[in-house]
């Protein structure tokens, strides 16, 4: 049995009188894609923010490589190897791909008493890392704004991987994308997983989850409804769990099974 890269045990989080998380347990193994499913308001966002150090859990434990850790801020989580790619805040459109890729960790070159941004190195690495992910840039100084939504997600993922992420949290990376772009992002997730990185893939789209997931955890009203391995559960069951059963089944009947 491999030790999980990160394990969250019975996480509870309260905001004043609101109980956002009420005992959530999730573990991520090296090289697996763990899908976190849940409808809006299920507590997905609160949970990943706890994992990435934005929120501190009210109760519960976070273990990394079997040892308990506490993150005071996102920076600490990042240095421990937890990288988060947020859906809409991943990239700055007006800046070049290179500037975005290295933002916050710019490589420097010394010239006498001064230090300069080493664009030679930065551009070369950016082009190479992007090529590895299957994105072929026109030039590393093209603005991120010229890339498609899927490509932007991929730049952010490539960046996290290059800077040594062990656990990569993807917050609804496919929710705003078209069919083709979605499959590109899912292919990228597959590439990342093969490097031994643990991927946490948050989505409310069961088909996207089924395409790449190794394990599935469903959140509903701040609780885990259990974790299933690939092959142990059908898409319809996941869908029902997410929606809390009954109602969706009825809806699906009246809509002819298209949801």
């Amino acid at each position: 049995m491999t030790t999980p890269l990160i394990e969250l045990v019975n996480i509870e989080k309260q905001f004043g009188p609101v109980i956002a998380l009420n005992g959530v347990s999730v573990s991520v193994l090296p090289g697996e894609c763990h899908c976190l499913l849940g409808d809006n308001g299920a507590g997905k966002s609160t949970f990943i923010k706890t994992m990435s150090g934005v929120h501190k859990p009210t109760r519960g434990q976070i273990l990394m490589d079997g040892k308990e850790v506490k993150f005071d801020n996102p920076r600490e989580a990042m240095t421990s190897g937890i990288a988060t790619v947020y859906q809409d805040l991943a990239m700055i459109p007006l800046m070049s791909v290179t500037r975005n890729f290295w933002m916050g960790r710019e490589p420097q070159r010394r010239a006498g008493p001064f230090k300069f941004f080493d664009f030679g190195l930065a551009n070369a690495v950016t082009m190479e890392e992007m090529a590895k992910m299957g994105i072929h840039l026109r030039s590393p100084d093209q603005a991120v704004g010229t890339l498609s939504g899927g490509e932007r997600q991929t730049v952010a993922i490539a960046r996290a991987v290059y800077f040594g992420a062990k656990v990569l949290i993807l917050d609804e990376p496919t929710s705003a994308l078209g069919v083709r772009q979605t499959s590109n992002v899912l292919a990228t997730i597959d590439k990342v997983r093969k490097k031994g990185i643990g991927v946490v893939f948050i989505t409310h789209n069961v088909r996207h989850a089924m395409a790449v997931g190794d394990r599935f955890t469903v959140l509903n009203r701040g609780k885990t409804l259990g974790t299933a391995r690939k092959g142990e559960i059908a898409a319809e069951e996941l869908q029902d769990l997410m929606a809390g059963g009954q109602e969706l089944a009825e809806l699906e009947g009246s809509l002819g099974g298209t949801v």
């Binding site: 996102p74 920076r75 990042m78 988060t84 947020y86 805040l89 991943a90 990239m91 700055i92 459109p93 007006l94 800046m95 500037r99 290295w102 933002m103 916050g104 960790r105 710019e106 420097q108 230090k115 300069f116 941004f117 664009f119 551009n123 070369a124 690495v125 082009m127 190479e128 090529a131 299957g134 072929h136 840039l137 026109r138 030039s139 603005a143 704004g145 010229t146």
Partner: protein, 380 residues
């Protein structure tokens, strides 16, 4: 796709050209840079004045020094405003800061008898402090910098007049030049350099000499004013800082999307506060040069300078929303400003038309910038 491992980055770059990407025309490529509008504007303005005022002495050495100095004044404050705007904020208190710093220097030197260098350093220290306070308030309250610095526009101007009136019963304090004679720092702001060069140029007949009066035999251009040197220095240093350093990347990031920048560990608050301090520093450089040149300070100096700085920056291609712009562009914006203001004078045109011109060029610049931004971000 060919296997790319084991190749140099250049080969990879060459190998992975996407067949679906249409080659972009060189014109379009050239358009996608912030300075383009300012470069065109500069060429147009020079062509215009060469044709209508070419024989008026505007392009003789003393004429060049004349509009060069005016442009340098605009450039000094534009450089600070430029970096601050790229970092996503405004400073409307620049003009009031100019008046404030000037009065502090004159008051301390003339009225209270401090050596000029003590007064100058005190003015800089106070300005940096006020700049930091501006920045701190903007960051802590989360209010738009437009409002916070608008408050300081009034607070500083009011304080300046108050201090000046209560201590000297005047709003103009003179006699600074005499008091600053032989000072170890004051010459850095008021002096002229390369005198020898101009004496030599005059001997060679390139530069005219005074033919009568107390200065007879001396060249009409004494030297390069320190103001010009400051402007060039600030332009070069800030341009390199913005485009070639890690900190420059943080400035773009802070203005482009502060939250995204914070998520990857960019110290956005520190960057913004430092940029507020830079605009205050630039305003004080301007004020000190002016005080040393005129030998006096007045409480109403620097009126409307904040807008002139912002206009220069916008003509230079920066976006009002932050995250995009260029120091070289802002400097060209300042040059356009200076050449037109003085050029209308050389051409004998009614000077009130200057403001008409300003408004028109500002409008054109903003329209062009919006178009350029759409091209960069691929919006339709």
């Amino acid at each position: 796709m060919a296997e790319t491992s084991g190749q140099t980055p250049e080969q990879i770059t060459a190998a992975i050209k996407d067949e679906r990407l249409r080659e972009i025309s060189p014109l379009r490529k050239a358009l996608i840079r912030p300075e383009l509008g300012a470069i065109c504007g500069t060429v147009l303005v020079f062509a215009f004045f060469l044709s209508i005022a070419g024989s008026s002495g505007m392009f003789a050495p003393e004429g060049i020094i004349n509009w060069g100095t005016v442009s340098a004044q605009f450039a000094i404050i534009a450089v600070g405003a430029c970096l601050l705007m790229i970092a996503g904020e405004f400073d409307l208190s620049v003009g009031s800061m100019i008046g404030f710093s000037g009065i502090i220097i004159a008051l301390m030197t003339v009225q209270w008898g401090f050596p000029a260098w003590v007064s100058i350093l005190t003015a800089f220290a106070l300005a940096l402090l006020i700049g930091a306070l501006n920045g701190y308030l903007v960051i802590k309250t989360g209010l738009p910098s437009f409002i916070v610095t608008l408050a300081f526009l009034y607070i500083l101007r009011g304080l300046t007049i108050f201090i000046s009136i209560t201590t000297t019963r005047k709003t103009i304090i003179g006699g600074v030049r005499e008091a600053a004679e032989g000072d170890p720092i004051a010459w850095l702001f008021g002096g002229k350099v390369f005198n020898g060069l101009f004496v030599w140029l005059a001997d060679m007949g390139v530069v005219g000499k005074f033919v009568a009066g107390p200065k007879a035999g001396q060249p009409v251009v004494e030297g390069i004013p320190m103001l010009l040197i400051w402007a060039l220095l600030l332009i070069i240093v800030c341009h390199i800082l913005l485009t070639r350093t890690r900190f420059g990347n943080w400035i773009f990031a802070a203005g482009g999307d502060a939250q995204a920048a914070r998520y990857v560990g960019v110290p956005v608050d520190r960057v913004k506060i430092l940029m507020f301090m830079l605009t205050a520093f630039c305003a004080t450089v301007f004020a000190t040069c002016q005080v040393m040149e005129f030998g006096s300070a007045a409480a109403d100096r620097g009126l409307l300078k904040e807008f002139e700085a912002i206009i220069s920056v916008v003509i230079g291609g920066a976006l009002l929303t932050g995250g995009y712009g260029s120091v070289v562009g802002a400097a060209l914006g300042a040059l356009i400003f200076g050449v037109v203001q003085q050029g209308l004078f050389f051409a004998g045109v009614e000077s009130s038309l200057f403001r008409v011109f300003l408004g028109v060029i500002l409008l054109l610049a903003v329209i062009l910038n919006t178009y350029i931004r759409r091209m960069i971000t691929g919006e339709r």
